[in-house]
């Protein structure tokens, strides 16, 4: 394929709109009749509301209504009406204001609506609530006694553990080298910069236009229609810009429900923005405990592998993510047993958070592999090569591509891995111990069914549209690149539309599948347009392309050019004139090619190399150098791809060293619910980061050969940092985050 845009460094096309304020987010849409709402959060973890007194709140000038479970309008009572595309199918999703029951601390219990935001916020302080508390449990170390085994999937693509292979118990017993350790990871909270918000515009014809912070307008629309008994024609959901989401906006959040409820009841437009503190009451990465046992021979070759994983979930939904399976996937081992258990507690339901399951699962196995390297005196890279798998070990299928060896080689070279001394505490800089460590990373690269539309106007402007989302990942730009590429247009001639239920349906924006899915649909629609343009070009009188076929031409620089003789071409303008000014529009559906993909599994891979400095007295860790080598298929936008990986690495620094929701178990309440106390890395914590994309060709994974990069940048980073800290200090920390108190 001739390319002029794909794989280059392209600034995001929505950048100017974002930095100038022209890009509008869900909380920034306005209507003359707009009301402002503030949600009231409950104070107890489990129990019932006894009384809820809204009289004082209603006395505030500008007060319109306080909605509670006592006066809420009719909504669907079926649990299943509250399901959404990402919900566990066997659960009972939260039904806000449905009744007096409290399932978790800070659950929404009332909605104050007023003519101004200030009045609504003041009202929220005046709502008086009394409760009857029931006993609660939020401490997984205790709740773990009631763990339930996961036997089947309850969400699309989230697999239960595979059947055990071989006899791992016996193989472990016989193995000359054994590693048996528990690995604990804490609750982490998604905290996108943009707060969750919904603006519901109540139209004159009683239809609703809903601006929602979401990773899927379709999902929000379905949710609202099912609960409120509305038809799709009555509800249009738009989400043109999303200020980060990381999985937190895959499921509709309670501000969508509450704002819609209020707008319908009051027949007025309503905006509800959650507070930063309320952001800590939504989904979260679940706490996990993984008991890993590795058996190996003296060379570190794996003979047995166990992962018994336990993860926290809520009482009302048996949400789980894939954690243990990552242990058994990537290394050659004939005897492997993975187990997944859920532990129900009185918290909100966890939710997918960037690389859900793999973030914790790969951290644990890659830490255990480092322990095996130490136990067998192996170099960590050599150990991984010794156990390298050419087949997906869990599914027994071939990889559509796996250039992980190139990641190891190129990453190690760039990092100067050969300078590492295996013995801990071998190198010092001032008061700091210096250490180096590495880990591998892996994430899925699936393709989902998606649709897109491409319209070439008479003036040569191409509009591509799909109901997908751009959560800051660069979807707009990716679509523009693929469209411009297909029709030989500069980016300035391409208009991208997304985040609207009026557009062709796209899957949830998540799982690292948007480029593969939406990108493939955009490419296909644009190719169909190109074919029609070619037909017009060939049909021009005396056309130099008269005897050519579509396969013989390239679309370059607004020309249709004969590949073998570039002096022969028709300009795009001439072709469009031939079409008498009619726009050319094509819609395309794209989905996985079962015939081609049968027998294969597709993943992105990474090798992450890290250097740390650890202050010997204080235990403070500085991640001074990171090299991440990524095998991610074909890179569409090199700049955006690099930014994604850098962002993932920064996230990994936070996961390794800082992030942790601190729950007071007496109250069953997360207490560090703000950015001052819940730490993520600041600029001063981030030093040299170097990203390498190794060449990886894959014509099986999807038609454009690209793999999503949203998650892989994070996976393995925490393990690499922990392994580097071990190399620096000789201290192995198996409980995240690795705060300084664990190193002194």
């Amino acid at each position: 394929m001739n390319t002029h845009l794909i794989g280059t460094d392209v600034n995001r096309i929505d950048g100017p709109a974002k930095v100038s304020g022209a890009a509008k987010y869900a909380a920034e849409f306005f209507a003359p009749d707009l009301l402002y709402a503030v949600a009231v959060s409950g104070a107890i973890a489990h129990g019932e509301i006894d009384t809820i007194d809204t009289a004082e709140a209603m006395k505030v000038p500008g007060a319109v209504e306080v909605f509670t479970h006592k006066n809420r309008p009719h909504v669907s009572w079926f649990n299943k009406s509250y399901l959404d595309e990402d919900a566990p199918v066997d659960g009972k999703p939260l039904r806000p204001l449905y009744d007096a029951k409290i399932f978790f601390s800070s659950q929404p219990i009332a909605l104050c609506v007023a003519e101004t935001f200030e009045a609504a916020r003041y009202m929220s302080r005046l709502v008086q609530v009394t409760y009857t508390s029931l006993t609660h449990q939020t401490d997984m170390k205790i709740a773990v006694q009631e763990a339930k085994k996961v036997t089947s999937s309850n969400r699309d693509g989230i697999e239960a553990p595979p059947k055990p292979r071989g006899n791992s118990a016996r193989a472990y017993a016989d193995a000359p080298v054994k590693i048996a350790k528990g690995y604990l990871s804490p609750t982490e909270i998604h905290n996108p910069m943009e707060l969750f918000a919904t603006t519901v515009i109540y139209n004159d014809d009683h239809t609703l236009t809903i601006y929602d912070k979401t990773q899927s307008v379709t999902n929000s629309q379905m949710y609202v229609c099912n609960i409120f008994g509305l038809s799709k024609n009555d509800v249009r959901v738009e989400s043109p810009f999303v200020g980060g989401a990381f999985g937190s906006a895959l499921r509709p959040q309670y501000q969508l429900f509450l704002a819609t409820l209020a707008a319908k009841a009051l027949k007025r437009s309503v905006r509800l923005t959650l507070t930063r503190d309320q952001m800590f009451t939504l989904g979260h990465r679940p706490e996990t405990l993984q008991e890993i046992r590795l058996g190996a021979n003296q060379d570190g070759q794996l003979l047995a592998l166990h992962n018994e994983s336990m993860q926290a979930t809520s009482r009302y939904e048996n949400y789980f993510e894939v954690i243990a399976n990552w242990s058994g996937l990537s290394y050659l081992c004939e005897n492997a047993t993975m187990e997944e258990k859920t532990v129900s507690m009185d918290t909100s339901t966890p939710g997918d958070m960037r690389a859900p399951g793999a973030a914790q699962g790969v951290w644990a196995i890659e830490t255990a592999m480092d322990e095996l390297a130490v136990a067998t005196g192996s170099d960590p890279v050599d150990l991984r090569l010794r156990n390298y798998a050419d087949k997906d070990q869990n599914h027994g299928k071939k990889y559509s591509s796996k250039e992980l060896k190139a990641c190891y080689t190129q990453g190690a070279a760039r990092f100067r891995w050969n300078e590492r001394v295996a013995t801990p505490r071998s190198e010092r800089r001032g008061t700091a111990l210096v250490g180096r460590g590495m880990a591998g990373g892996v994430w899925e690269s699936p393709q989902m069914p998606a649709a897109a539309k491409a319209t070439l106007a008479a003036d040569g402007t191409l509009t591509v549209a799909s109901g997908t989302a751009d959560i800051g990942t660069g979807t707009y730009t990716m679509m523009a690149i693929l469209a411009g590429e297909a029709l030989g247009l500069p980016l300035g001639r391409v208009v991208v539309k997304l985040g609207d239920t009026e557009l062709p349906v796209a899957p949830l924006e998540g799982g690292s599948w948007t480029v593969a899915s939406v990108g493939s649909a955009v490419s296909k629609a644009c190719k169909a347009v190109a074919e029609r343009v070619f037909t017009l070009a060939a049909g021009i009188n005396e056309s130099p392309l008269k005897h050519a076929s579509f396969q013989d031409v390239d679309f370059l620089n607004e020309r249709i050019v004969l590949r073998d003789d570039p002096s022969k071409f028709v300009t795009l303008q001439s072709a469009l004139e031939q079409g008498e000014g009619k726009p050319i529009e094509e819609k395309a559906d794209s989905g996985p090619n079962m015939f081609k993909q049968h027998g294969y599994k597709s993943y992105t891979h990474s090798a992450v190399f890290v250097e740390v400095e650890v202050d010997e007295d204080f235990g403070t860790v500085s991640v001074c150098r990171v090299v991440s080598a990524i095998a991610g298929g074909r890179i569409i936008n090199h700049e955006a791809a690099q930014s994604q990986i850098i962002g993932g690495i920064v996230w990994g620094i936070g996961m390794a060293l800082q992030e942790q929701a601190e729950t007071d178990h007496q109250f069953g309440r997360i207490m560090n619910h703000n950015f001052a106390e819940y730490h993520v890395p600041v600029n001063a914590d981030v030093h040299d980061i170097d990203v390498i994309f190794v060449k990886e060709e894959d014509d099986i994974v999807n038609p454009i050969g690209a793999k999503g990069l949203g998650e892989i940048g994070l996976v393995g980073v925490a393990a690499a940092i922990g392994n580097a800290i071990y190399n620096a200090t000789g201290v192995r920390v198996r409980e995240l985050p690795i705060t300084l108190d664990k190193l002194i």
Binding site: D617, L740, D741
Partner: protein, 332 residues
């Protein structure tokens, strides 16, 4: 946030009289902490008296060689003031170790002294807190107390004072000038903040109607030998787990003057001038001296579980800060 009256102060007297006469009225300077607390429904002032137009915005050199920092001078202005950088580098370093650039640009000298603890229980009205609602209890003692105090705690409160600047001011031995309806007075820095005792709701010895007008620095600023070390969970925008401000005057390797204060360990910056006199003055500036001093200074420190690690970190931080201060300016 609740409704409140807003009053712009035109003069010190009027401002003090207003607050004295209006129950629940409070002064506001930069507002970097007070406004947060109002949004959290922790502070519920009936009126805010805005001091920002008062003439307390200058840094002036005092006749006996000290420096007066007007109460409204921002933290950034102090940190980068040429006289402060030259004569009181310890203060610059401490300020720049705190908060973020944006907050330092807005926060004032007076307000920095008056910021309240960052204990998570104090900030959350859904849970008890003796400092916020006296008599309700202190869940921190058996709960989340990683950042809490190890010295000077009481049955009712184990909160810490969050300031970095105040730790340096304590080490320097600054004086706080205040004015109220009863006139003006000077408060030695060590007496400005108080320990929680059985009144954890009271952070300082300031009367309700008293306004901090300036902070005066003494003539001697440890310009040659000072260090500020802050141990924290991330490299910026994190409160100190333990911080130490150390300043010396040395003569031929002998300590002639010392100021050593700790942050992140108590309800106020922790300094013991008596121990400095007995264990530092006249002693050689070496590890043995520092070690003996830290043992005495930290005697009686007590952990509450999550914060036990501070018992290990504090001693080494004190020693390292003293070493760094003593060796400042020497070639490595």
């Amino acid at each position: 946030m609740n409704n409140f009256e807003y009053v712009r102060a035109e003069g010190l007297d009027g401002a003090a009289r207003f607050v004295a006469g209006h129950h629940g009225a409070k002064f506001i300077g930069g507002g970097t902490n007070l406004v947060d607390l109002m949004k959290y429904n922790v502070e519920k002032p009936t009126a805010l008296v805005d001091l920002n137009r008062l003439a307390m915005r200058s840094v002036t050199e005092l006749p006996y060689g000290g420096l007066r920092l007007g109460a409204l001078v921002t933290n950034s202005e102090v940190a980068y003031h040429p006289v402060v950088s030259a004569k009181y580098p310890l203060l610059s370093r401490a300020i720049l170790a705190g908060a973020s650039a944006q907050l330092r640009n807005k926060a004032t000298t007076g307000g920095n002294l008056l910021q309240r603890t960052r204990c998570v229980y104090f900030y959350d009205t859904a849970v008890p807190c003796n400092k916020r609602e006296p008599g309700t209890g202190c869940p921190a003692k058996e709960g989340i107390n990683r950042s809490m105090a190890i010295l000077g705690t009481s049955v009712s409160c184990i909160a810490t004072h969050p300031s970095d600047m105040c730790v340096a001011l304590a080490a320097l031995g600054a004086t706080v000038q205040v004015a109220g309806t009863q006139g003006s007075r000077s408060i030695p820095f060590a007496e400005f903040h108080r320990l929680p005792g059985d009144q954890p709701q009271v952070d300082t010895t300031l009367a309700v109607d008293e306004i901090v007008t300036s902070v005066d620095l003494p003539a001697a600023g440890f310009a040659g030998h000072s260090a500020y070390i802050k141990v924290r969970d991330r490299q910026s925008y994190a409160f100190a787990l333990v911080s130490v401000a150390a300043g010396f005057e040395l003569a031929d390797g002998i300590i002639t003057k010392a100021g050593i204060a700790l942050g992140g360990v108590a309800h106020k910056p922790w300094r013991n001038a008596e121990l400095e006199r007995s264990l530092l003055i006249g002693k050689p500036a070496n590890r043995d001296t520092y070690h003996a001093f830290q043992l005495a200074l930290l005697a009686g420190a007590q952990g509450y579980g999550e914060n036990d690690f501070k018992l290990k970190i504090a001693p080494v931080t004190v020693v390292r800060a003293m070493e760094q201060a003593a060796h400042e300016g020497e070639q490595a």
